[in-house]
Every structure is written in C-alpha cells, then in structure tokens.
Symmetry: C2
Subunit: 410 residues, 2 copies
C-alpha cells in the first residue's frame, strides 16, 4: 500500500471541527448543544444576495468566470472598499478566491519558498497551520497573553524572531480567535518592522466590519509606503453572513505578486459563479446594515463577557472586534474539558460546544486553559450557554486554580 | 521590495487562457472569434439544477457545508455512480471539492512529498503542471504521439520511467487534450505497473460521460485489487455543463488517504453550498440525457474531424472521447500560429481561437505543430470555424511541410 505524504500526515485536524463526532453523539442522547465552536453567523444572509441568485437562475449555461473573478463584481468590491474603508483600489488589485482560505494559500504559495518563515502572533486562526504545512512554510509564533488583553508584542519582540528565512508576518485584524482590534499604533509598529526587514504583511481582514466601542478598523492597505508589501485576505463569509458562498479575495497593489497569484488562480480556473453573483448585490448595502449588525454583536459580546467575568477564576479581556472571545478558564486541559462538556455534561438538557485553545497556538503546551467562544447565537441563548458553562466549571473534575493575572478582565 | 517565491515564478500561464488579451483585441477590431480554446460546454445547464438553486434561495442563512460536502449530495453521487457506471461507493469515499482542480491538488499534496515523481502520459491537461509546481512534485512525462493516435505506451515504457521517487501515475480518461478513450487493455496495463511498483493511480475522469462509437468508459475505481491505489478526480463541470458551479469530487476507497485529504478539506472549510444544491438535483438525470448529449458531441466531433482530415497536411486521429481533438498542423510554431490567428487573420469577419499544443507537453519542444480544439459550439459554427482554419493554414507565413505519419488519420 502506498504511503501518505509527510504533509498529509502532519496536517492537523481542525480544532474547530474535530469535536463534531462528540457533539453528534450528545445530540443523539437528546442533549441540546449550543454551538459556540464555529464562526458561522446566524444572522440572515441579506435579501439582495438571494434576489440576485434567483434572478441569475434564468441563465442558460453556468459558465466559468474570469480566473480573477467577474469584472463587475471586482469593480463593485472596489466601490465597497472606497465607501466603507476609504481605500482606493482597482479591479486589477483583486483576485476573487474560493473563500478567504484560498487567499491565504495564494499568499503563502506565491511569496514563500519551502523552509521560509512567517511570524504570526499567537493564538492565531488555526488553519494558517494547515496552509503552512501544505506550502512547506514554517510558522514562527510570537505569543500574546490573555492576561495582557492579547496586546501586540513590542517591535523588539518581532525583531528577535527575524532570521534570514523570515519572509512575512500574518496579522488577523480584528483577530480570530481573540477578538482583538489592533490600533493605529499597532499597525505603525508592524509597518516599521516590515519595511525595515523587507517583509510581506499578510493581513487577514475577514472581520473588518466587526469593530465596536467607537474604535475604527484600519486596513493594512491604508499604510503608507507599503504598496509592495501588503496582501489583504478578505471574505464575504462574515460581514455578509454568507459562509457557504465560498467567496473571498486576494488583494494587493504589488503587480508582480498579483501576476504570480493570478497564475495560481488560473490553475484552478475560476471562483464559484453563483457566490459572486450574490455577493456583488451586497456591495451596495447601506451603512445602516453594518450599524445594525454591529449593535447586535456588541450586545451579544457584552452578554458573553459580562457573564464570563462573573464566573470565579475566569479571565476574559473586553475586546472590541470580530465575534470571538478567548477566555482563560480554571481547567487542566481545554481539549479534555471541551470533550467532557459534550460527553458527560448537561445542564437543563443543554451543553456547550467550544473550540479548545490549544489548536490556536503553535507553541506546544499553550492554550490548555483557554477556549475560543464564537458569539453567533441570539442573546438569550448565549446567556443560557454561559450559565451552562458556569455550572460545568463547578462540576468539571479537572478544575484547577486560576492563573495569575496581570491586567485581568480590564 | 520582497521577492516572489520560486514556485510563484515557475507557475506557468494557462495555455488555454494566455491568449485572452489577443482575443479581446481582435473583438475590439470587430473580428468575431470562434472560441475553441476552452472546454466550456455551450449546452444548457439542465433545468433541475436551476430549479433546486431557485428553491434554496428561500434559505435564511447561507451556511458552510460539511467539509466533505453535503451528506445527501454525496449519497446522491453514490447513486449516480452505481446507476451509470456500476460502481459501489459510500459517502465516506467522497470529498466534494472546489471543482475537479481541488481534487487534483488534494491528491498531489496528500500522496506526494516535494521531490517525488509522478508519471503522466503527454500531452496532458496543462494545469497538472501548475499543481505539481505548487506541491513541489516532479512531473515525468511519457510521450504519446499524434501519428499513433495517442496510444498509451507499452508497460515497458512506464517501467523505464520508474525511479525510487516515483509515487504515482496520472491518467486523464477520456483524455483532455487528446480525446483518447482508454481501453480495458490500457487500464490493465496501468494496473500491472501500479501494483508492481506500489504506486497511486490518479484517474481524472472529468469526461466519463463522453464516450462515443459504442466504446465504454471504464472507471479506475472498477479495477480489481486497486482499492488502496486509486484516486478518482471528478467534476460536474463537463457532464452537467456547470463549469461555474465549481463542484468536483476526490474519490478513494483508501481510508488513510481519505483522512489525510479530509484534513486538507477542513483547512478550506467547505466547498460552495449553492453548487452542491444544484448538482445534487442532477444526479437523477435519466439515461436519455446522456444519450442526447453524446449524440450532439459525436455529430460535432465528426464535423470537426472530417473537416480537419480534408485539410492538406493536417493529421487528426479519430478519437472516441471527451470533446477535444489535438491535430497536427503544418505550422512552424503553435504559439505563434494561434497568436497570429487572433492578431492578423480573419476570414469573412471571423477567426479561430485555439490552445497551442506546447502548453500540454512537459518535454521541451514538443507540441509545436499541435493545437487543442474544443468542439463546444454548434455544428454550423464548428464547420465555419474549420473553414476559417483551412484558409488560415493557406495564408499563414509560418507554414511548413507536414510531419511524416505512421497511422495518420486512422
């Protein structure tokens, strides 16, 4: 029997999806499961998406689109970025991708050779690991801490990670999994290190419309003098509640890099046509759409964080972006705890599914007291889910003393 | 400015799409272009696809699907394969992919390490090159010849290509770009070499419903004792005229390999939901659908081949599958000729766009007298396109003596 490749063996199971069989077993036993494990928004996909797709169903032949995506959609995206984020882009800066995931893969494959290194503040979106393994790229984690509100490390900490093989930094802003929204000062810090060492900055801006508390999201594309350095990885999944469309974007002003990514894009022919048709119709959503969505997520976030901060031994910084929090819990092992929740626990017929923290760290041993919670349910359900979690933490046999805090629950 | 990766530089431009700017310029001049360069069928996407998508537009949230694809769609595909090809499969043998392209990528990434070799009869589907470069895999071409009707080489020729790094063979059956439908004897030949050297057989069966002249397509999944060795790369693009759906499948009975490919699939979350919804509705198309489609393509193929065989100096074997032919023309250089057709030629206001043969060969210098023609237009247009080609070959300044033939135009 022929063997599996090394990368095939090393490829990690998704920390977000690996507990699915335990959740299915819990449901089979009659336990209801609050799904806080996955960033699948529950808000309706806006009606213009469906209207556009329904209309398109009169097309005779469902054809390949341009490899870079439908031109009118790329133009509409430019209009969206200008109106919402004051970014000046042209369709020739944009390649429409199969979800944000493909944009990550294109960035790694087009910029990094096998053995090259990319610095990533951890905890980070787990699937960066998978794409790094597939590309033969080495992720160099730079740890941030729940007790410090996941603040970005100082420039010196980045500098200390740089080697002759360092080629890029990945930032997810606002952050999945921590909910951290990075400030102008943070971006200035990254700009300094990127320009000094002639690196790429891969900016995952999937959650760009999820910035709260009067804070402003700032795209890496707005940083001065970074035209040759920045790749933005975008997706419609979150901001338009359209995860199943599988439509993202690879955005850069670096022409040579764009052309290399286009050759990767041509190899897979085109992104899905129907998802593009629907997404194009959403580029003109009024600002009020975003205001309403943000208000809903702020209320949910407050529900979750306020509840978490009431639970003894839980540390949960008050973050201002995305729809995740990553609290520290008084537990021995987040993998064991999350599995125990599904296998052995229920409260009033309910349990909670969360993503264990370990999957979001590259440094072995980190994340064992953390979980990622996606607040993508209605408030009343979130409130009840947090009650379940509080009861579970009382009952869990692996409960341990909470970790010492520096700026806890700030 | 940071540099592009080696693979980013090496990635070839698509031979199918690289002449697009010249075609656009021709159209801007008022010349009509017959598009024979790309395998984009013109037949309507069957109505049940559109009906199912239209119906699905009442869904509130467009969610991620399972990473392996929607279970009911995988089950429906199993039913399709059983009914149409007598293959017994389960949903756990199938991962739904972003087009057939992603299935090719999963196969290479999960089975081959960088530096490993895969033997591919050439000419072959050009994008195998791109995925091989991205994966760091070396393609070892085994040349087949237009003058021998692109017959598969003998077992000894495969054996001569085997090294300690050989890990797989790719076969596209029926073949894109040659239209060759492989016989049971051909598959038995491959089975022998695969089992003897413990290789994988990656079988690209995108054109499985396009077998003509009473010949029967036989899937590699039907080969005895090959359960651990065979990966089938499938797509709905061609058989259901739904290229823009971007729905394919990675199919294997090898559990360990399936699991490795699933981890790659989890990294990109899920395939497009809308394309799956539509495709599921097509799994129950009656046999009469395929009979009618085949009759149409046979008539087109005959139109093209009969015309080509009348043109002095053209060699075009009478092949029985897919919707391509790859004739040899009396020209100096197929890249130059195809560009000349778009830049300098027109006949009665029309010209012809074809894919230069060179892009389908890995051996340098081969394919310079060949072009790939996709017969995906109505017969009357194909007939006129062949007239244009005949006139063009008379006028082309780079016309040369035709190559010697062994079994020409058999």
């Amino acid at each position: 029997m022929p063997t599996i490749s090394q990368r095939g063996q090393q490829m990690p199971a998704s920390p977000i999806r690996k507990l699915v069989p335990f959740a299915e077993a819990a449901k089979a036993r009659g336990t209801k499961v609050y799904h806080l494990n996955i960033g699948q928004p529950d808000l309706p996909t806006p009606a213009p998406f469906w209207d556009a797709v329904r209309q398109f169903c009169n097309t005779p032949v469902l054809e390949y689109s341009h490899s870079a995506g439908i031109l009118s959609y790329r133009q509409a995206l430019c209009d969206y970025f200008l109106r919402r984020h004051k970014l000046s882009l042209t369709p020739d800066n944009i390649i429409i991708t199969n979800g944000g995931s493909e944009a990550v893969r294109f960035a790694m494959a087009a910029c990094l050779n096998p053995g090259d290194e990319v610095i990533v503040p951890e905890p980070f979106y787990a699937n960066y690991n998978s794409f790094a393994i597939e590309s033969g790229v080495k992720i160099v984690p730079l740890t941030t801490y729940v007790t410090e509100s996941f603040d970005l490390p100082p420039v010196e900490a980045f500098a200390a990670c740089i080697t002759p093989r360092t080629k890029a930094i990945i930032l997810c802003n606002p952050s999945n999994p921590t909910g951290k929204l990075y400030s102008d000062a943070d971006l200035a810090k990254l700009r300094e290190i990127v320009l000094k060492h002639d690196l790429y900055l891969f900016s995952d801006e999937a959650y760009q419309e999820f910035a709260y508390d009067g804070e402003t999201f700032r795209s890496a594309l707005s940083l001065e003098g970074m035209e040759q350095h920045v790749v933005v990885m975008d997706t419609v999944s979150k901001r338009w509640s359209a995860c199943g469309a599988r439509i993202g974007a690879f955005i850069t002003r670096n022409t040579e890099l764009y052309n290399a990514a286009m050759r990767l894009a041509q190899a897979r022919l085109s992104p899905p046509t129907l998802g593009q048709i629907g997404s194009q119709a959403l580029c003109i959503l009024p600002d009020s759409y975003y205001t309403e969505v943000q208000a809903e997520y702020v209320a949910r976030r407050d529900t979750v964080i306020n509840a978490l901060q009431q639970i003894p031994g839980v540390i949960c910084p008050r973050v201002s972006g995305a729809f995740y929090v990553m609290p520290s819990l008084p537990i021995d092992d987040s993998d064991r705890f999350c599995q125990w929740l599904l296998e052995e626990f229920s409260h009033e017929g309910y349990t909670v599914m969360m993503a264990p923290g370990t999957g979001f760290y590259a440094t072995p041993g980190l994340g064992r007291q953390e979980v990622r919670i996606a607040y993508v349910l209605e408030r009343q359900h979130l409130a009840h889910a947090m009650q379940c979690l509080a009861v579970a933490l009382e009952q869990y046999p692996g409960r341990v003393a909470p970790q010492a805090t520096a700026k806890a629950n700030a």
